[in-house]
Structures are given as structure tokens and as C-alpha cells.
């Protein structure tokens, strides 16, 4: 039976051979661009390390100035409770005005002002308020500082209540207090390097998966070499697919490099789920983004234009899909817009597989959404590409 199919087998072999030759051509061409290759390696190694180790979005050592108008045991006790890792005591000021000047200059983040007679008021059981002035030019950080300060003062206050009631009552210390035991899952120590280094890899994959094939295709258009390809026996589909295949291979290799050189040995990211599933999904994601890139290449005429289109499309994806900031907080129009961003789904799958250790049974919906988007984008690119050269 196979013998009668000899001819069609030969056709398939020829098709695959042509695809292979074209893919090889792309890889060779990329391999000869030494500055670009070096930059690719940097982006997936040292750059991942710098971002992973360097960025702490949690409030960290906020410079705190204190104006202590009381200089008593109680005020010292309170000041003592503002400590690292959240606050860093940065000295005392004589005059609140001096503190505000420091806040203006940006050399301090918060100013704690303890009123005179602080100790007396506490001893005399009068309610007393301390004041905190926070720099909110960076709103989330300012809010975080205020929240930590609130926690510290709240704890100070409830300790006072406890000791008073303890002293006043008949020995038993019964208090109706609701306390929370927090259990943080998937990353018990809230090690930020895991999140940041993985985020950085996702960012790099997105940028390269878009730019490499898009620039490669538009370059051929610009120089006119694509005309040569189109009069050859190679089909437009093979031209596009070979570029995507070559660049996807490069990206998978680079991702593996990042995991082997930085993620595992340096940051000790526990890769809980299946590595092969992660790479399969990364391949699917690269295809999807490459489809988007190729579509952009078909609507542009030169590399400068494709660069501009890339900026227009990629920067919202990078900033709004949830690798830089939490997704839930985004306004609903952003959330619906980002339903079109393949990165939105890739993030869930990546963190799901690498940190949470969940498998395809929970992630199938995200993978399906990504595959659908990829199919549509690739199809659209294909359609435009064919139409342009008919």
C-alpha cells in the first residue's frame, strides 16, 4: 500500500527538505550576526541575573526620619520598633520643617513626628496620636510605607492595652483578639528573585519572539530577496514557517540557557512541574508571538516601521499583562483588552508549571486560549503575505 504512495511520500520528503534548507539558512544568517548573537546570550544570562537579584518591589529599607518631641522611654520604645527590613532609621531632626526639606530632596521617604508629652499622655491614659508624613510621589510605595507604619503603631498600641488590662485584671489575661496565621503558598519565603527572574525571561522571550522573525521577513522585503524566494518552488507558507521554526529553536535554546545558568544554580528556583510541559508551552508561545510579528512584518515596508509597530504592540503587553504589576487591579477595559494578549495566558502557565507544580489538567484552558490566538495570528499573517505577492 505504501508503494502506491511512493510519489506522495517523495513530495512530502521534498517539502520537508525545502523547509529544512530554509530554516538552516535563517539560522546561519542569524549566527553570522555576531553583535546580535552576543546580545541574545547576554539577555538570557547576565541580564536575567541582574533583574532577578536587583529588583525588590516590596518596601525595603525606606529611609525614616524622626522628630522626637518627647525624648522619653515611651517615644524611644516606639522609634525602636521601626526597623529593617521595612524601615531604616535615618537620623533625628530638630525641626519638622527640616524633615520636610529632606523629603523634598528625596533623600528620605517618611517622617515620624512624636508629640511632646507623649509619655505623660500614655501614663495618664489619655489617647494620643503620632504623625507620619509620607512621600507619595511613588503612590504604591508610599502606601506600603504607611501600611507598615500603621501595623507597627497598632502593635505598640495593643501591647499597651494588654499590659494595662493585664495589670488591672485579676491575673488572667483574657482578651478577644482576632489574629491571622498567614501561610504563603508556592514561595514560602516570598523570595522575590524567583518572580523577577522568571518575569524577565518572559519579557525577553516576548521581545525576541516578535522581533527576530518580523525583522527577518521585512528585511527580505526591503532588499527584494523575497521576490527570488517566491519564484522558487518554495511556497509562501514554507517561507514564513521556516523563519518561525528557526527563531523558535533559538528562543528555546536561550530559555534553556537561562534556566541552566541562572534560574536553577543562582536563584534556586524550585522547578516543581514538568520541564517538558514548560518547553512545549514556550514553543507554542513563541509560535504565537512570531505569528504576531510576521503579521506586523506584512503591514510594514521596512525595518524602521516594523520597529515602531513592535513598540506599539509589545509595550502594552509587557506592562499590562501581569508580569510587571498585578493583573487583578487593572481596570476592566484593560483586562478585556489583555484577553487578546498571549502573554496573559503564558504567565499563568509558566508560574503554574514552574512554581505551583500544576499540570495540564488545570492549565488546559490557558493553553487552549494561547493556541487559538496563535492560530488566528499566524493565519492572518499568512493571508496578508500571500495577498501581497499575488
Amino acid at each position: 500500500m505504501h508503494r502506491t504512495d511512493g510519489e506522495s511520500f517523495e513530495a512530502v520528503r521534498l517539502w520537508a527538505l525545502r523547509l529544512f534548507v530554509m530554516t538552516r539558512k535563517e539560522l546561519l544568517q542569524l549566527g553570522r550576526d555576531v553583535p546580535l548573537l552576543l546580545f541574545l546570550i547576554y539577555s538570557f544570562s547576565l541580564s536575567v541575573y541582574i533583574s532577578g537579584a536587583g529588583i525588590a518591589m516590596q518596601l525595603h529599607n525606606a529611609n525614616l526620619l524622626v522628630h522626637d518631641g518627647d525624648h522619653s522611654a515611651s517615644s524611644r520604645e516606639l522609634i525602636h520598633r521601626f526597623h529593617e527590613p521595612y524601615f531604616r532609621f535615618d537620623g533625628e531632626v530638630r525641626d519638622p520643617k527640616e524633615g520636610v526639606t529632606r523629603l523634598d530632596q528625596g533623600t528620605a521617604m517618611a517622617l515620624l513626628d512624636i508629640p511632646p508629652r507623649f509619655h505623660e499622655s500614655i501614663a495618664g491614659r489619655e489617647p494620643v496620636a503620632v504623625q507620619l508624613q509620607v512621600d507619595t510621589t511613588n503612590a504604591p510605595q508610599g502606601l506600603a510605607a504607611a501600611a507598615y507604619a500603621g501595623r507597627i503603631v497598632g502593635r505598640f498600641s495593643s501591647d499597651l492595652t494588654l499590659s494595662r488590662l493585664g495589670a488591672a485584671s485579676d491575673g488572667t489575661m483574657l482578651m478577644p483578639v482576632v489574629d491571622s496565621a498567614h501561610r504563603v503558598w508556592f514561595n514560602q519565603d516570598q523570595d522575590e528573585t524567583w518572580f523577577q527572574s522568571i518575569s524577565h525571561i518572559l519579557r525577553m522571550i516576548t521581545l525576541f519572539a516578535f522581533l527576530l522573525p518580523a525583522a527577518a521577513l521585512v528585511r527580505e522585503k526591503e532588499r527584494g530577496t523575497v521576490e527570488q524566494l517566491l519564484v522558487s518552488p518554495i511556497t509562501p507558507f514554507q517561507i514564513m514557517l521556516s523563519k518561525v521554526l528557526a527563531m523558535t529553536l533559538v528562543i528555546l535554546a536561550a530559555t534553556a540557557l537561562a534556566m541552566v545558568t541562572v534560574l536553577k544554580p543562582v536563584f534556586g528556583v524550585p522547578i516543581k512541574g514538568s520541564v517538558s510541559l514548560f518547553f512545549l508551552v514556550t514553543m507554542l508561545y513563541s509560535f504565537t508571538i512570531a505569528g504576531l510579528g510576521l503579521f506586523a512584518a506584512t503591514v510594514t515596508k521596512n525595518q524602521a516601521q516594523v520597529g515602531m509597530v513592535a513598540l506599539l504592540v509589545i509595550s502594552p503587553m509587557l506592562l499590562l499583562s501581569g508580569i510587571t504589576t498585578p493583573f487583578e487591579a487593572m481596570p476592566s477595559w484593560v483586562q478585556s483588552l489583555m484577553a487578546l494578549s498571549p502573554l496573559r495566558y503564558y504567565i499563568d502557565v509558566t508560574y503554574g508549571v514552574l512554581l505551583k507544580g500544576v499540570g495540564i489538567e488545570l492549565l488546559w484552558d490557558s493553553i487552549l486560549a494561547m493556541a487559538l490566538l496563535g492560530g488566528v495570528l499566524f493565519g492572518m499573517g499568512m493571508w496578508r503575505f500571500r495577498r501581497q505577492f499575488q
Binding site: 541582574i50 525588590a56 528625596g106 507598615y148 503558598w185 514561595n187 522581533l211 498585578p326 500544576v358
Partner: protein, 384 residues
């Protein structure tokens, strides 16, 4: 240095840009689109966090407690579950970010005046998120405890509610938010977005300029022409400098009129710093253009160098002071950080030239250094 030759190069460059309609359109459109999309869309507050509850007590007090989470704008109630395995699944699927487990005999214990521990399970994949959530939970617990305590003291000690309340909270904290009283993240975001737009779009304007001529071979016209190295490099920059300067004014108008961000500082200082910053960002593109051989390399390297440090190390999202020492070095080696200080300072803090002169000096230093590097890299006598 001959002004006529500079004008000639600039005019040629300008014509090329103007004839490329899509490129010209994008160079004006991109900054505006970013400003509007990110100004309205990029929200950094941790709000509407999806959560589920497991109420083992099912009493009126436990419902009262949980209701405080449900009605808070920080949380988004996704429903109640009946066992812990359900929570595992929901957290794994990122359907929820937090779960609260109220223990049995919650009401009974509290009414008897005994402490109770409620369990919260948090998704730690985004550590900042988890940390902020802890803060919210603690704040709600504290408010709830204070009410319970006041009530308890009134009941058991016969104090009047006023006195009980005083005993329950002897020391309080008053917080004043400086520069941005309502703590709007738009106000802190929008001025920094001017930096983002100039830093990310401007280098790409110049990045392909020289390498394109190298690739197509038209650079040989320059090699054999009388135009000098410096004249050529200056002429190349002029059109893009003009485009970016127009963008600064447009972005400033959008920030002030559309977003209503107060501009408290000196416009002269802001404008001067912006011009210096444009010289830096276009200079980065120019240097990359001189370093690489292909447009493809120039394009990819420029986009990544412009975008990644700008998102991470410019003070846009994370203040430079909370970076690790290594990352701080990188932040200081990149002009964006200084300009972010100037922009936020001029808009929100009302700083003038005197308060910001060091930042301006550094920006000027970067601009000059980048020009010198470009001058050194460009040669009219290419190797065979």
C-alpha cells in the same frame, strides 16, 4: 563646522523621514498612545484581589467578620468553599489569590474573651502582592479586634463605651500623604510616563539612521563627500531632535490637561532637562547604530536596551533606593533615572532649577559622553 552642510544632511534626513508616512505617523502617535493607555490603564494598587472563604463556624460573628473582606474594595469575593482541597485547586489555577479559613467555635471563643487565630492562605508567586495582602488582612483584623475589645470591656468591666474605646486604642497613627494627597497612582505614573515615552521611542528614531546607509551602501556618498564626521552626525540628529521636542510639549499638555496632574515646578527647568534627556536617548540610538552591522541587530538591541532598563531601573515602578547595590549601579549608568527625578520633582514637588541642578548636570554629562563615543566610533575610512 559648516552650517550649510549640516543643514543639507538634516534636510536629506528630514525628507526621508517625511516620505515614510507610517514611520512619521508612529513617531508622533506612539508617545501619545502610551501616555493615554498607561496613564489610565497601568494601575499599581493591589485591589480587587480574588479570594474565597471557608467558614467552619457559620455563626453570625464569623459572617460579620468575613463581610468586612467581602465589602472591601481591596478584595473581590469569589464564593465560599466547603473543604481545603477545593482551596488547593483554586489557588493552583489562579482563580483566587487568597483564602480565609475561619476555625470552629470562632464566635464562642471571642465572646468568652479568648483570642482566635484565623488562617489565611496566600498565593506567593507575586511576592509584592502577598505582602500587601498580609497588610490588608492585619488592618482588618485590628479594626475588628478593637470593636470586639470595646464591646468586651463595656460588657465585663462596666466601662462606658467611650472609656472602653480609649483603653482599646491608646496610641493612634495619623498619616499625611505629601505631594500627592489623595495618593493617586495616576499622579505618580503620568509624569514618569513622559520619561518612558522619550526613552523608549526616541532611540529607535536614530538607531537605524547610520546602519541603514551602511547596509544599502549609500554611506559611500558620505565617505566621499566634503561633509565632516561631526557635521554628518549632527545633521542626522536634527530631525529626530525636533520630533522629540514637539513630543515633550504634547506630552506635557496631556499630563496637565487630560490627567489634571498639577505642575508645581519651573517649566524652564523641566524643558531644559527634557532637551538634555532627548540628546541622551537619541544618542543611545546613534551609538548602537554605529556599533552594529545590520539593521536587524540595531533594531532588536535598541528596543531591548531602551525598554527593559526603562521599565525596571528608571524609578518608573520601583524606586531606585530599593534596588540591590548591583542594580543601583546599573540604574545610575542609565540617564532615565535622573530624568525621572526631574519630572516627578517638577510636577509633584514643585522643585526649581536650583534644587535639581545636579540631575541636569548628569544628563548633560551623558549627552556629551554619548556624542564623544559616537564621534569616536564613526570613521570615514572603513576597513576593507
Amino acid at each position: 563646522m559648516n552650517v550649510r552642510r549640516i543643514t543639507a544632511v538634516a534636510r536629506k534626513e528630514w525628507r526621508e523621514t517625511v516620505r515614510d508616512r507610517l514611520f512619521l505617523l508612529m513617531s508622533f502617535l506612539l508617545p501619545v498612545v502610551w501616555m493615554v493607555v498607561f496613564g489610565y490603564g497601568l494601575v499599581l494598587d493591589v485591589e480587587h484581589v480574588p479570594f474565597a472563604v471557608l467558614d467552619r463556624d457559620q455563626s453570625s460573628l464569623s459572617r460579620d467578620y468575613l463581610y468586612r473582606f467581602i465589602e472591601s474594595r481591596y478584595f473581590d469575593y469569589q464564593g465560599s468553599v466547603s473543604d481545603e482541597r477545593e482551596i488547593d485547586r483554586l489557588l493552583g489555577d489562579t482563580a483566587i489569590r487568597m483564602a480565609i479559613v475561619v476555625p470552629e467555635r470562632f464566635e464562642q471563643q471571642l465572646l468568652e474573651g479568648r483570642p482566635v487565630t484565623v488562617q489565611t492562605l496566600l498565593d506567593g508567586t507575586f511576592p509584592l502582592h502577598a505582602d500587601t495582602l498580609k497588610g490588608y488582612v492585619i488592618a482588618i483584623n485590628r479594626a475588628f479586634t478593637q470593636e470586639l475589645l470595646t464591646d468586651f470591656l463595656t460588657r465585663t468591666r462596666g466601662l462606658v463605651p467611650e472609656e472602653a474605646r480609649r483603653l482599646a486604642e491608646p496610641v493612634s497613627l495619623e498619616t499625611r500623604y505629601l505631594y500627592n494627597q489623595e495618593v493617586r497612582s495616576t499622579w505618580s505614573m503620568v509624569p514618569a510616563l513622559i520619561m518612558f515615552a522619550l526613552m523608549v521611542a526616541s532611540p529607535l528614531l536614530t538607531a537605524l539612521g547610520v546602519v541603514r546607509e551602511k547596509e544599502t551602501g549609500s554611506i559611500y556618498n558620505i565617505y566621499s563627500a566634503t561633509v565632516s564626521k561631526a557635521e554628518f552626525l549632527i545633521g542626522k540628529l536634527v530631525p529626530y531632535f525636533v520630533i522629540s521636542t514637539i513630543n515633550v510639549v504634547v506630552l506635557w499638555v496631556i499630563a496637565v490637561w487630560l490627567f489634571g496632574v498639577p505642575f508645581k515646578g519651573s517649566f524652564t527647568a523641566f524643558f531644559l532637562a527634557s532637551l538634555l534627556f532627548i540628546l541622551c536617548s537619541t544618542g543611545i540610538g546613534l551609538v548602537i547604530s554605529l556599533l552594529v552591522k545590520t539593521q536587524m541587530a540595531a533594531l532588536i538591541i535598541t528596543i531591548i536596551i531602551a525598554m527593559v532598563p526603562t521599565i525596571l531601573f528608571s524609578g518608573l515602578l520601583v524606586p531606585v533606593s530599593s534596588l540591590s547595590p548591583g542594580a543601583q549601579v546599573q540604574a545610575h549608568l542609565f540617564p532615565a533615572m535622573y530624568y525621572t527625578d526631574v519630572v516627578r520633582g517638577s510636577f509633584l514637588k514643585g522643585l526649581d532649577l536650583k534644587a535639581m541642578w545636579t540631575d541636569l548636570l548628569v544628563l548633560a554629562g551623558f549627552a556629551v559622553a554619548l556624542r564623544l563615543v559616537a564621534y569616536g566610533l564613526f570613521t570615514k575610512r572603513p576597513k576593507a
